[in-house]
Symmetry: D2
Subunit: 415 residues, 4 copies
């Protein structure tokens, strides 16, 4: 039987890692946080990463052989939530997107050589990476089928041409995982293929930056141009033509780790809001005793607890049934991204003028999480997918004999 | 380690009971459902209960020794949801409030004699019961401290006087569990005490009925008067003065079983809505392809999945930590009661004119679940309790050394 | 300049009629209201209508020549809101759907003979009427183009065949306005045509009733069958082929009068909620001082005031620009129908157990207004129409030279 | 009779000013807008102000004698909405807070000398001003009674001491209107008094800046310190002790002009969203045809239209009944501030990645309006006030004879 661990009843090593992480975030990371609106300094990041290694909390999701804490996927949530309690926590613990998802995928489908060359230094925090998938309109955005970047065979290797954007982390990355369209040939079907491309390969160029409202992570989300970039055959990650399938592999858990990290930040906002409510007086009473504040607090607790529960359910399901788990991750992603935004928005509101100033970090948190309702599939894109999947599952069930219930019945006479 | 079972990965006997229940509800119960707005006929209920016994699905939550299926609390949810897929399913399976909660409490704190006399026939479905707690204003309602019904020692027994209302099931009940205020004496503290009172005891009188918008369950929610009702000392359930504590014992799981049953009904409404969306055309397209309907369907899936997840989390928590589980049951109750109402409301809307007529049962479902946002603690009462508890937990954490984060920081100079 | 009258600054005759109506509803109508869930008795209705005539408040919207108060459309709202303060008020004042809309249309496009024969007794309250438009799936519902009822020339007259449903008031109606599809011929284009059909015409038959959740108005919303019904040429209302155009004429103001009446009922629910909040204690404080109740009350005030404002704006716009007014009536209808439902739902919630019982009328009010979110175009149908209209207006504006603003701009360098 | 002008039916001079303003904003202001996240350059502002004077659109709300367009309050809304269509529009037209509200107050209660000295150059755009009211906790914030800044008689003048914050515009202001607590004496009651204080008066010092999430207006919202600031007796604005009353005078219309301006910005966001929906394809269809986008568009139209309607109603009411108008302005402020935020948030969402980047200005708009849900009374503070006022009005009505409706009625027997 597969199971979801209950909070307060995790296996001892997990609970210990959670508590170590909690202590490290509170004792070491929070005091080093930059001013709201400013990026984490790279030198400081390295320093804090070293401290995290010393504290035994570095890279919780990475196998021990690669220098991490070896946590199983179904136990990531409590630890990632502790990390996300600081907006720079995940970066310090080397558990931040896009590196974290890239590590996960390298671990699952990378060759031994690729793991040695890319995963080892990435897991160690010595280098960073990016994931080059989104393209300018009308290329790959919400609709991956529109992929415009191409890779064609070129001697023993490949030639990649295309324009990517929203390539988070590209500015400081050592390599990119690049999604490109490839033609069918004897060896592989037509489709998308993933390539491991060092950023110093000739033809790779960082284009204009794209400034988004989030700001803690350095490097922005720039345009990246691939103009006649030549890579060897060994640059293919997994098999040619299976890129979309791998993207799903990456996205299921990646979506969920986003949820975990941001839920941690919602808990931070909640604590700020509670500290304010417990100490400030308005209208002669503690805010916490005033019902409108109580409604905001209670609603936030409900948002946090249901988010925690759906993440746990989804993580456990991913382990027993990857396809069902991936489907449920859409539900989790929509619920958690919207819930986290609501919690922080309420905290801003309850803290009044301080809430929208940089005296408190809340307004910046709002800007940090705003994009999460859009990236990794927007709320609307996921809802569309959820509705279609649910409606067609029901249709198949009815076709398979489940009684149809959509017809209105006519009753004669009075009731 | 305590765990939450993942859907699709329950222990085999649980999954088998779930599937048997599912088949029984679809094959036997749904075809026998009364017309929307009409109560389940008592004779038909008995007949269907006999069929449930034959099908091995009767009283899933009741220990085998009392004739049930012996399901552990953490496995109730999947089976109760299957039962609730029909609005009369729980009554047919003898898993309906208030009997189900009364059974649970008798099992936990009843004496052997009380179990023999009251639990055995109740579990068998031979008799039914009621729970006499709510009183007219200004008595016990949202605020149990206002309890106006009294019990005073009278010879070797007790004399009970009071007026109860919203006493669901009283009309056909064989006995009531009556909550009454008792004074402190040598043997027990002042407080509330629960009494087992046969309904044919002299002085017990069913008063005016109270018509509420739900209608499947026969008997309404009448006023019940207790005028000089004499009961023996053995009528006390548990110990004198501990009634409120027991009520909490009863309410935690009882709140959650309500959630489970009504979530089953939300799934029914969902299927009706999907069958309609899959087959009716409007504006030249299937409703399921129209985005506004898609939004309604997706939002309903999210409501159902998060409800399922928070119920599972809470049921598992109740097993390891009754106090924390009871606190979380407030969160679950608010979320599920509101979510279920939203799902059914959307189904009504999507089915248009048929949705508000008795050609489909949806409008009646809406009326069946409307009171659930109020009874067992209204949404607002629970929110108030959640906010107070959360704020004071945080205050204690800060007092215990957790860094205070509510002060706005002042930065000099420009950023 | 056309203007919206401001509350408290209506012309004296309007304000006087409003106050007379207010006094009549409070003094005469409310004391005669039936028990929640029961229909208004027809004999009592006649009696109350006589009293309304005596009080000078009967048929406020009807021209004086037909026995009404001659109120101009832009002044209907304050008076209709007063009428709607009682769920039976509009019926008593002869200002209830479908009669009110039928009177309006007869007045606008009826011939003198039709006015004499149908409008005069209808306006006097001597007879009642119905509007036969909705049909069973796949006929005319949300999509009027699907109209299946036909009228073909038959000698000097017409032969009507079809099946209508949700024909509110048909049971007691003296005549129906029937919408039927007619073919193009020398005299008129293909389209829909409206016919005035006495209900005792051979071939007209009341079919099975349809029970909906509303219950104050007697007669339900039955199926009506037209089997070979012969009517003379003079039965055509307006011109042949223009039925859909006339339906729009009818629907714009009719939609708005629904909003006015139901907004009156929301004000009633508000008063009940306030009376409760002002007098009941919970947790040792007046509910009105508890913030969660305060939030519910304030949100209800906002719902009521914005509803009142959009109705006033739309009524004024209808007078200067019927097409723009009709478009805005979609916005008003969606906002008011949802707002009214929310207000009553909050009142139910705030009144707890009494809210869902028939001790207070609130739960029944909820059932009375629930269909309003569906009929006269469901919320979703209107939203679809609003979005399409708005998007295409903007597209045309851009085509006409308004600068296009949808392209993302690329900035080079840092900001 | 007082009236609300209907859109499309304004008096000719108003409509002409609206159209001139519209053309000026689109032709001159929008092309000059700074990059999202950057403040309007002061030199550019002066240049654009000159162009506005030339175009005959400068200072629409200012009497002609002071160089404005002399628009009456009830006609401000259409023109201010046109101004607000650009986030820098109101500043260019000299119709921006806090100057606009300060002009309004000077005009209403300033002496001739004060008007000459302060209003004339302010209305001309030659100088700017600030309003020094908010103080650090526990001073005057949501609760003005907590005012900590004091003014004491000092010779023939006054000495002012205190610390203000969130003093928008202070950095570049020539004078401040300062709210200070004064004691009762022979000439005036205890209370708050407003003083006109040139910013170069000795003892006035700009303190630390406060960075809030909005950024178009230069100068931020700094702390301002008043240490032993001596002003003459003629510095008092209006009468001593009446400061709170005047603040209400200022706040009613000021609150409403905020609503008007921000509603203009919501219309801008709407156009951006529509341009995107009309031209981008996702999933093979125009976004505008996809229902989830349709729902977002329709809901935004409803938000905009109801905001426009409640502003119009409130502006008209302010003219006939200042007290009722001020009360209704709370309702308008809550509704419009929340509605505008929702509209922009939906526009961000619909534009996906571009929505949260500075390729489009939407994310910055979200940051510009976020504080509006807090300043001039937060949503929660207004709701609290609305609920209290509404509940007590109803209580007085019941005391005056209006029938009490809060008691549950008991019906005997079945219905």
């Amino acid at each position: 039987m597969n199971t979801v661990p209950v909070a307060g009843a995790y296996p001892a090593p997990v609970e210990e890692l959670r508590l170590r992480t909690r202590a490290f975030i509170r004792g070491t990371v929070i005091p080093a946080e930059p001013r709201p609106g400013q990026a984490l300094n790279l030198a400081l990041r390295r320093e804090l990463q070293a401290a995290a290694r010393d504290a035994g909390v570095f890279a919780p999701h990475v196998p021990v052989e690669f220098g991490g804490q070896g946590l199983a996927v179904e136990h990531w949530s409590p630890v990632f939530q502790e990390a996300g309690y600081s907006p720079i926590g995940p970066a310090v613990l080397n558990a931040m997107a896009p590196d974290e998802g890239n590590m996960h995928m390298l671990q699952l489908i990378g060759s031994d050589g690729q793991k040695r060359k890319f995963l080892t230094p990435l897991a160690a925090g010595d280098i960073s990476s990016c994931f080059a998938m989104s393209e300018p309109h009308p290329g790959a955005g919400s609709d991956p089928d529109a992929l415009a970047t191409t890779a064609v065979r070129d001697g023993s290797g490949w030639r990649i041409d295309g324009h990517k954007r929203f390539t988070s982390g590209a500015t400081f990355a050592s390599f990119a995982i690049v999604m490109a369209r490839t033609r069918a040939d004897r060896e592989s079907p037509a489709g998308a293929t993933m390539f491991l491309v060092p950023m110093d390969t000739p033809g790779v160029r960082i284009g204009n930056p794209i400034h988004t409202v989030d700001s803690y992570l350095p490097g922005g989300h720039p345009n990246v141009h691939f103009d006649g970039v030549h890579v060897p055959g060994s640059a293919i990650l997994g098999e040619a033509g299976l890129g979309f399938k791998y993207a799903q592999v990456r996205l299921g858990p990646a979506r969920l780790t986003h949820c975990m990290r941001w839920l941690g930040l919602a808990r931070r906002a909640m604590d700020i809001m509670l500290d304010r409510a417990n100490t400030r007086e308005i209208f002669g009473a503690h805010l916490s005793q005033l019902g409108i504040a109580q409604d905001m607090i209670a609603q936030s607790v409900i948002d946090i607890e249901t988010s925690d529960a759906i993440i746990a359910k989804c993580a456990a399901l991913l382990a027993v049934d990857a396809k069902a788990g991936s489907a449920l991750s859409s539900v989790a992603k929509v619920h958690v991204s919207e819930a986290v935004y609501r919690v922080i928005d309420r905290a801003v509101q309850l803290c009044g003028g301080d809430g929208v100033s940089d005296g408190l970090p809340l307004a910046q948190y709002l800007n940090e999480v705003r994009p999460f309702r859009i990236y990794d599939g927007s709320t609307e894109t996921h809802k569309w997918a959820i509705a279609r999947r649910t409606a067609s599952e029901r249709r198949r069930a009815v076709e398979a004999g489940e009684p149809f219930q959509g017809a209105a019945r006519i009753y004669e006479g009075e009731r």
